[in-house]
Symmetry: C2
Subunit: 138 residues, 2 copies
DNA sequence: ATAAATGCAAAGGGTTTGCAAAGGC
DNA sequence: GCCTTTGCAAACCCTTTGCATTTAT
């Protein structure tokens, strides 16, 4: 909300609720999940408002968007972690994050060896998490 | 077309044209590009037909789908290459492929260290290709 | 009071589906 | 002829946009 004030933007109840849900979440939420969560906390919000608030948060740099190839985007708070990769469970959808310096270097080397000026990369590993491996059916 | 016969599926002109465009392409085509290319070769096809033909080709294993985060899928023939990564130019859209054994191993190790049974992974490096670096505007 | 945010609903892009017509077998 | 494929259009999902209304400042 400091951001909102700094930019002379109205601090509305909806924006605060949406920002709170998104920026304190431990999970990677979709826009729909944000709307549901905000609503379940007593303050219903329209889909458009969620997307508009997300845009603002993305511009502010407080939020980061992810694409796990599901056909829609997910969002996570931009914590202190500069860059990290994702490990996604193909059964329960759980997402774990990890960081790997070697991978950073490797992508730069590969890019340069082919004449590309590396900008960024995206690695997603799909697998079955420990819990889902135990219970055969979840 | 051998596949079609083997599975007792009708060999239609549309399916052959779509398969020909997709399986002989050097580029990573989108569904729309396939439709355009087929049409430009004189045989107009409906969008639905393109998608249905793509489904068949994906099931057959002759075609592989890719997601470069553009909001739609691209397809490439499943050549002999078992698995490879992608290097995408953020200016002209050119896609280069490369293979890296270390990356394969690395993803397995990372996944296992976190209790995941690795299934697959997806790495896309974004950058600016040599040609686009030369000409400032293209 | 002004200027912006909200919410609804309609529109948009990519993809899928229903069904009558066309076509391979 | 039987059965599948085709093609159109409508439907679908996620997201964006238009516009009247509400709200923060």
């Amino acid at each position: 909300m400091a951001y909102l004030r700094e930019h002379n933007l109205p601090v509305t109840a909806q924006r605060l609720a949406i920002a709170d849900v998104l920026l304190t979440s431990e999970r990677h939420l979709s826009a729909e999940e944000v709307a549901q969560e905000v609503s379940s906390r007593g303050r219903a919000v329209g889909t458009a408002t969620v997307y508009r608030a997300i845009d603002t948060l993305l511009e502010s740099g407080l939020l980061v968007e992810r694409d796990f190839g599901e056909g829609f985007r997910r969002f996570e708070p931009a914590r202190d972690i500069p860059h990290h990769e994702h490990l996604v469970c193909t059964q329960c959808g759980k997402v774990e994050e990890f960081r790997d310096e070697r991978l950073e270097r490797m992508t730069t080397i590969v890019a340069e060896s082919r004449g590309f000026a590396r900008q960024r990369h995206r690695l997603v590993i799909h697998g079955v998490c420990r819990e889902c491996q135990r219970g055969t059916a979840g």
